[in-house]
């Protein structure tokens, strides 16, 4: 993986993805090591983010590397009309690796073609978010002990949620069954379902969240955004149907874990936070280890 960019989860093979997860386990045991001393990582956030940027910066800082970059474009030459190409080439001169988030789809792929250093895509519009995918895989493997033969429920906005698309695609390499719970308007796109069919795996579609809770090993919640609905009445009809409450977890499997890419608004009721089945905050922490594994692999330090 040395010197390779990670733009889309499919850029890394199943074996390479598992290698990252194994390495992340090592970093979880020992997250502070001075192995990136002398390295400079650039975090270019053309669009705001809390978790992704902070966890990347924590990952690098704990390993002794230095960070340059920006968390919004207001104080940069982008405001003066600098092209993405120029910004990336210039930052390539100053850093050993670039971690970028950008509002436009495809921006990270393009950046990887003009940069002289590797790029890690930290989200390009509605397209890809591969490091979220890896940390989701890490969280599933850690809580279930395996990625194979699991019943995974995806709940909420399955149409626009880029983390759902990447994770479904990645999990098709591991004999999982997919339980897809969403309002009619926000069903998983057929392009993504094709990937499941291509691997001869099973998927089931539901509109009722309660149906999947007794069978799921993992319940991956997402936020339903009002602006996704063409008809506001439709939103009002479904908005409360996909809120997970503690009382609904009665009868669920002991090994069930609730995941969420965060930010959460109201789709997971706060009374679940203290339930041992709630895993979303630990999931966000796992992002640090996975990103440490990724950065050190790409820089060739590990």
């Amino acid at each position: 993986m040395k010197n390779r960019s990670l733009i889309s989860i499919n850029d890394f093979s199943k074996e390479e993805q598992l290698k990252i997860l194994d390495l992340a386990e090592e970093f979880e045991k020992q997250p502070t090591q001075k192995i990136l001393e002398g390295y400079v990582a650039a975090t270019l956030f053309f669009e705001p983010s809390t978790r992704t940027r902070l966890s990347f910066e924590t990952a690098v800082n704990r390993l002794g590397g230095r960070i340059i970059g920006f968390s919004d474009t207001s104080s940069t030459s982008v405001q003066k009309g600098e092209s993405l190409k120029d910004t990336i080439i210039m930052v390539s001169n100053y850093s050993d690796i670039i971690i970028m988030r950008h509002p436009k789809a495809g921006s990270a792929r393009y950046a990887s073609e003009v940069a002289t250093v590797p790029i890690i895509n930290a989200g390009d519009g509605a397209n890809q978010h591969p490091t979220q995918c890896l940390l989701d895989m890490y969280s599933i493997r850690k809580t279930q002990g395996t990625l194979d033969n699991l019943d995974i429920a995806f709940v909420g906005d399955l149409k626009y949620g880029r983390t759902v698309h990447s994770l479904v695609m990645a999990l098709t390499n591991f004999n999982c069954r997919f339980h897809l719970v969403s309002p009619q308007e926000l069903k998983l796109p057929s392009v993504v379902k094709m990937h499941i069919k291509d691997k001869n795996l099973e998927y089931y579609q539901y509109t009722d969240l309660q149906e999947v809770l007794p069978i799921a090993d993992v319940c991956y919640m997402t936020r339903i955004q009002k602006e996704r609905f063409s008809d506001p009445i439709e939103y009002e009809k479904v908005k409360n149907a996909y809120i997970l409450k503690n009382s609904m977890l009665k009868g669920s499997k002991d090994n069930l874990r609730i995941l969420h890419p965060l930010p959460r608004v109201n789709e997971i009721s706060e009374d679940i936070d203290d339930n041992p089945k709630a895993y979303y905050f630990q999931q966000a922490l796992n992002g640090v280890y996975v990103r440490q594994a990724l950065v050190t692999s790409i820089l060739g330090v590990k």
């Binding site: 436009k104 495809g106 390009d124 397209n127």
Partner: protein, 156 residues
């Protein structure tokens, strides 16, 4: 058979001595084909006609370029704008070769990405598509990974 294709009898646009005739272009795409082939900056004689009656298509367009012969790679670029096009090589007023176009595996810098949020629609970047289906024409953008389908294709 040869008489049927006699250019002096069949074609409303004047015959050429040597060069290439691109026939059966959809009438509305003639100017697009001229653009894709870069004929606007070409010095030789070019004749073209559009909205001509066609037995097969109703209306069609035709382009005749003197003293210019196209490599398959070059001509296949027009396949999306004119999938039904016939390519006729003329030497000394005679047809020496007649072929059709085929859709290439990659489409470079001709088509606009359908996704309004794609980076290629916001920065000065050549577009690049992989043809994922040649039958019903589906192009996957190399950058945003979205599919542009036949009905959504527009040219840059």
């Amino acid at each position: 058979m040869t008489n049927q294709f006699d250019p002096r009898k069949e074609l409303k646009v004047n015959a050429i001595e040597n060069g290439t005739v691109i026939d059966h272009i959809p009438a509305q795409n003639v100017f697009q084909v001229i653009k894709i082939l870069g004929l606007e900056g070409f010095d030789n004689q070019i004749l073209f006609g559009t909205n001509l009656d066609s037995y097969k298509f109703g209306k069609k367009g035709i382009i005749k370029v003197s003293n210019r012969f196209f490599a398959p790679d070059e001509i296949n670029k027009i396949a999306l704008a004119a999938p039904s096009a016939t390519l006729i090589v003329i030497r000394d007023y005679q047809i020496v070769e007649k072929t059709t176009v085929t859709i290439p595996d990659q489409i470079l810098n001709i088509v606009k990405c359908f996704n309004p949020n794609c980076i290629t629609n916001h920065e000065n970047i050549p577009t690049k598509f992989t043809v994922v289906s040649k039958e019903d024409i589906k192009l996957r953008c190399h950058y945003c990974e979205k599919i542009t389908s036949k009905d959504d294709i527009s040219f840059r």
